[in-house]
């Protein structure tokens, strides 16, 4: 039983190894002599006028949070969509309730104007 997990293990090890080697190789093999001008901020060739670390307005954070929520909802849809046939009517009603709950959240969100941009 354990045997048929070996190919997956090899694939994972090979994937991780490839990623690590590729990113670390240039660090090990490449020359490194940092100096202060090289580390300075790149702003298309000019001295940066003001630091970019300003306080951002809240709307960016809102959009990010909402995206995560609805993205997870889609992730839950995948297993349901895969064996949609076997689940039959029970699965359909179950998923319908799940989506309806999130739809209430979405309507609330639209009314509050969280996605209003400008």
């Amino acid at each position: 039983m354990l045997i048929d997990y070996i190919p997956i293990g090899i694939m994972i090890v090979f994937g991780v190894a490839f990623g690590v080697i590729m990113s670390k190789a240039s660090e090990w093999l490449g020359p490194k002599n940092p100096n202060d001008v090289k580390q300075s901020i790149y702003e298309s060739g000019m001295e940066p006028v003001r630091s970019a670390r300003e306080r951002m307005s809240i709307k960016y954070y809102m959009v990010a949070m909402l995206f995560i929520i609805f993205d997870i909802e889609v992730v839950f849809l995948y297993p349901w969509a895969v064996n949609f046939r076997q689940l039959g009517m029970f699965g359909f009603v179950e998923m319908f309730i799940f989506i309806a709950i999130l739809m209430i959240g979405f309507v609330y969100l639209l009314k509050k104007g969280a996605l209003k941009w400008d």
Partner: protein, 175 residues
């Protein structure tokens, strides 16, 4: 690459020669396009002269990801600080091509605001003559840089390479 004994199919290559080979074939250019030579540099990257054949297709506009800076155009005193800053911000093994007469020597602009040749403030590896040099002449410059890397020379300090305008007999223009 140093192929020692081919019959045994046993390749002994020094590590830096292998790195040199890898670096040579993936020189990502930083196009410091300033004036007319920039248009020839665009044709050099365009479909016809296609620098992708030499591994330098990815024109990186940020100095962090580029190895070869192609300075193409007239560098004025106001622009020289920018060119120098971008050159400093590039990671270390970096080469510089001075493309065109204006970049190499001020060209036809002997005026108050033009730097007479960028080697006054940047170590240059290859100078390419021409105003603007034809894209195939720029590819020739790229090959010279690749040869220098293959020879394992340090960027900037090694002897300079000067590429003349190829004397083209204008065979097509009859009469």
């Amino acid at each position: 690459m140093g192929l020692m004994k081919t019959d045994e199919a046993f390749i002994t290559t020094k590590l830096d020669e292998m790195i040199g080979w890898a670096r040579k074939n993936s020189l990502w250019p930083m196009p410091m396009g300033i004036s007319c030579c920039a248009i020839e540099m665009m044709s050099f990257a365009g479909p016809r002269y296609d620098c992708a054949r030499f591994g330098s297709e990815a024109f990186r506009f940020s100095p962090r990801q580029s190895d070869l800076m192609i300075v193409a155009g007239t560098v004025t005193y106001k622009m020289s600080h920018v060119v120098r800053k971008i050159y400093d911000q590039m990671p270390d093994p970096k080469w510089v091509i001075a493309m065109g007469a204006c970049t190499s020597s001020g060209g036809i602009y002997r005026t108050y605001s033009v730097v007479q040749g960028i080697d006054l403030f940047i170590p240059v590896d290859v100078y390419i003559a021409g105003c603007p040099p034809r894209p195939d002449n720029l590819i020739n410059g790229l090959i010279q840089i690749q040869k220098k890397i293959a020879r394992g020379e340090k960027p900037g300090q090694s002897e300079k390479v000067y590429i003349q305008e190829p004397s083209r007999i204008h065979e097509r223009q009859t009469a």
